[in-house]
Amino acid sequence: MIRWLVGVIGLSVVASHALAAEPIDIHIGYLGQAGIKSKLSLVEQPSENDGIAGARLAIEDNNTTGKFLNQRFALEEVRLRDGEDVAKAAATLADRNGFIIVDLPAAALLKAADALRDRKTVLLNAGATDDRLREQDCRANVVHVAPTRSMLADALAQYLVWKQWKRWLLVVGSHETDKLYADALRRAAARFGAKIVQEEMFEDTGGARRTDSGVTLIQRQMPVFTQAAPAYDVLVAADESEVFASYLPYRTWDARPVAGSAGLVPTSWDAAHDQWGAIQIQNRFVKLNSRRMTARDMQAWTAARMIGEATSRTNSGDPRAVSDFLKGPDFSVAAFKGQRLTLRDWNLQLRQPILLADGRMVVSVSPQEGFLHQTSELDTLGVDRPETKCKLN
C-alpha cells in the first residue's frame, strides 16, 4: 500500500514538473569545412559564412516562435580544416547538440554519420548533392535537405524538353563531381526524351582562374572548342569544379543557349526568387547578413526550420521525437516554394521544387506542368521509390 502511494506521488511529481513548462533548449550544431571553393565569376564568390548564415536566420525565426512556446534554439559552429578527423569532430559536437546540420562532401558526411550511428543525434545534410548518399550509401540518421544532382538535372531537363530544346551538346569537366553531374544529366535526357548529340570533355589543365588578359584568350578558345559540334539546340555544361562553364555563354561557335553549370542553372534557391512570399525571407536575410541569400544558405535555413517545425509540433526537443515526427506522415515544411515540402520516406530526401535561374532572374520553376506522378509531382524530380537502392536501417 505504502509502495503504491509512493508510486503515485512519484508520478504526480513527474507530471507537475512537465506542466511547469520548463524552457526547452534545442542545441543545433553546424559542421562545415573551413575555407571557400572559388568561383569563376567574381560576383559569385561565396562568403565565408555561406550556408551557416541561413541557419542563423532560421535560429532567429525559431526563437521568435519559441518565445511563445518556451523553446530556445542555439547554434554551434565547427569548421573542419583539411586533414582534421571528421568522426571526432562530429562526436564532440554531438556531445552538446542533438541535431547537426552538415555541409560536407559525401565521404566526410558518411564518416560523421557512421561515427554517430549509435547515438540519437539527427544529421541534416544541407550541402552534399550526391545521389549515392540517398541510394546505396543512405543512412537512417541522415535527413537530406539539399537536392540531389538527379533532382537538379531532371528539373532542368523538364524545362528544356518543354521548350523543345531536345538536342543537347554535353560538355563535361574532368573532375569526379563534374562526371557525377554529367551522369545525372544523361539520365535526365533519357527519362524526358532529350538527345545528347555529342559529348565533349573539357580538361582542367590547371592555371590561374583570373588573369589580366584572360578575356582575349577565352574569346578565342571557346568558339573553337564548340566549333565541330553537330546540330544542337542547347549546350549543357557539367562543371561543378568551376573550370570552364561560365566562359561558355555568348562564346559558342553557333548561337546557342547554355544551361547546367552556367547560363540557365537549376538550383534550390536564388537571390532573385521573390514568388510565394519569398521576398520576406530575402529581406530578412539581407537585413541580418548584409548580403544576398544563396542556395546553401537556403538549404541550411530549411534544415534548421525543419527542426523548429518538428519541435513546435511535438513540443519536444528530444532528437528521437523530432526524428520520428520528421519521418512521419504529418510532417511538412513551408519554404517559400509555393507548396508544402515533405520527406521521401524511403531515403529521407526532402521533396522540393527546383528553380531555374540565369543569375539575374528566376526563369522557371520545375516540376513543369504536364509531368505527372501518382503520388507527388515533386517525385518526377530525382530517383523515385521504385528505382531506389536505399535500405534504411
Binding site: 525565426d61 516562435t65 511563445f68 512570399g277 517545425e309 511538412s332 508544402r340
Partner: protein, 322 residues
C-alpha cells in the same frame, strides 16, 4: 390570359428596375491599381492608380474611404470613394499586408510582414500609436465581434496570436497548420476560422477556450494535395455556410459551417485568393490572381455566374458595409 399578362408585366418591371448597385474595390498587386466594380453592370467602372504592390483592402467604417496597403511603399493609402482618388496615406510599419479595424473605426491594426509586428494606427489623427511583437511574417488579421480580442496569424511561426485589445498584450497562441493566411470570426463569436495555405486546412478554433476543435479538410479528385492551398474565407451572417478560396486549386469550397464538411467545390479562375460578399449577401466575389479576373458566385444557388476582367494579379476585394 389575364394572369399570364400580369405575370409578364411583373417580370418586365422587375427586369427594368435597376437592382441596388454595390461598389467593390479590388486591389491589383501587379498593376499597382485598384479596380472599381459596379455590381449593377458587373463591370469595371474605374481604375485608380495607387502605390506599389497593393494587397490588403477595406472600407473605413464610415464607408467614405477605402484603405489599401501598398506594401512596397511601406504605407496604407486612403482612397476617397466620392472622387475615387488617393487623398492621403497612413504610417504603417514596413511592408503592410492585411489589416483590420475596431468596431468604432477609430483604430487600425496592421500586419507588417517584414518586421514581425502588428502596428496600431489612430485613424482619426492618422498617427502610429505603437507596435505589438508577434511571430515571424504576420499576415492574417481579425477582430472579435465584441472588439476585445485581436487575432493575428504569423506565416512562418504558424500560430494564431490572441491579443487583448485593451492591454495590447498577447494572451494566447494557438498553433495551426503551416502558413496561416487568413482569420475570420463567425458573427456570434462561436468560432474562429484560420486558413493554412501550405498545411492545406482550415482550423476551427473555439475563441473562448482558445483551442482547435476541428479542421476543415479538402479533397478534390484528380488534384494533388500540394495544389490545395486555402487562403480567403467568407462566412455568411447566419453562420451556416462558409466559403474557402483554395488558391492554385482554382476552386472555392462551399462548407457546411455547422458540420465543417465541404459540400461543393466551385470552379473559379486561376489562383483564387480573397473574397467579399455584397452587403445584401446575394453574391460573393472572389479574386483570381493568375487569370486577372474576379468570379461572381450566386450565394444561394452556389453557382459561378460571371467573370469580370480586372487588373494584373488581383489580390484583395472589399465592399462597403451596409
Amino acid at each position: 390570359m389575364w394572369r399570364r399578362c400580369l405575370l409578364s408585366v411583373t417580370v418586365l418591371f422587375a427586369a427594368a428596375t435597376p437592382a441596388f448597385a454595390f461598389i467593390a474595390y479590388v486591389s491589383n498587386e501587379k498593376s499597382n491599381t485598384v479596380s472599381v466594380i459596379d455590381t449593377d453592370k458587373w463591370a469595371v467602372t474605374a481604375t485608380i492608380k495607387v502605390g506599389q504592390r497593393p494587397r490588403g483592402i477595406e472600407f473605413t467604417r464610415s464607408g467614405k474611404f477605402v484603405l489599401v496597403a501598398v506594401g512596397d511603399d511601406d504605407k496604407i493609402e486612403v482612397i476617397d470613394t466620392a472622387t475615387q482618388q488617393v487623398v492621403d496615406s497612413l504610417p504603417s510599419g514596413p511592408d503592410p499586408e492585411l489589416f483590420t479595424q475596431d468596431a468604432a473605426g477609430k483604430l487600425l491594426y496592421v500586419a507588417n510582414e517584414n518586421d514581425n509586428t502588428v502596428t496600431i494606427i489612430d485613424l482619426e489623427n492618422r498617427v502610429r500609436l505603437g507596435d505589438i511583437q508577434v511571430g515571424v511574417e504576420p499576415e492574417g488579421m481579425a477582430i472579435s465581434p465584441d472588439g476585445k480580442i485581436l487575432i493575428n496569424t504569423s506565416e512562418t511561426t504558424n500560430m494564431a496570436h490572441f491579443i487583448d485589445t485593451a492591454t495590447r498584450q498577447i494572451v494566447a497562441n494557438v498553433l495551426v497548420d503551416a502558413r496561416p493566411r487568413f482569420a475570420q470570426f463567425k458573427r456570434d463569436s462561436s468560432e474562429l476560422w484560420v486558413s493554412s495555405e501550405i498545411g492545406g486546412t482550415v482550423a476551427i478554433i473555439d475563441p473562448a477556450k482558445r483551442v482547435i476543435t476541428g479542421k476543415i479538410e479538402f479533397n478534390i479528385p484528380g488534384l494533388r494535395r500540394e495544389a490545395i492551398q486555402p487562403v480567403g474565407i467568407g462566412i455568411t451572417k447566419d453562420g451556416k455556410t462558409g466559403f474557402v478560396a483554395l488558391g492554385p486549386a482554382n476552386r472555392v469550397a462551399v462548407v457546411d459551417a455547422t458540420t465543417h464538411k465541404v459540400t461543393k467545390y466551385l470552379l473559379v479562375g486561376q489562383r483564387v485568393w480573397h473574397m467579399a460578399f455584397t452587403p445584401d449577401e446575394k453574391y460573393l466575389l472572389v479574386t483570381n490572381g493568375v487569370s486577372n479576373d474576379v468570379s461572381v458566385i450566386d450565394v444561394s444557388a452556389q453557382k459561378v455566374i460571371k467573370t469580370i476582367q480586372v487588373g494584373e494579379l488581383p489580390w484583395g476585394i472589399a465592399f462597403a458595409e451596409p
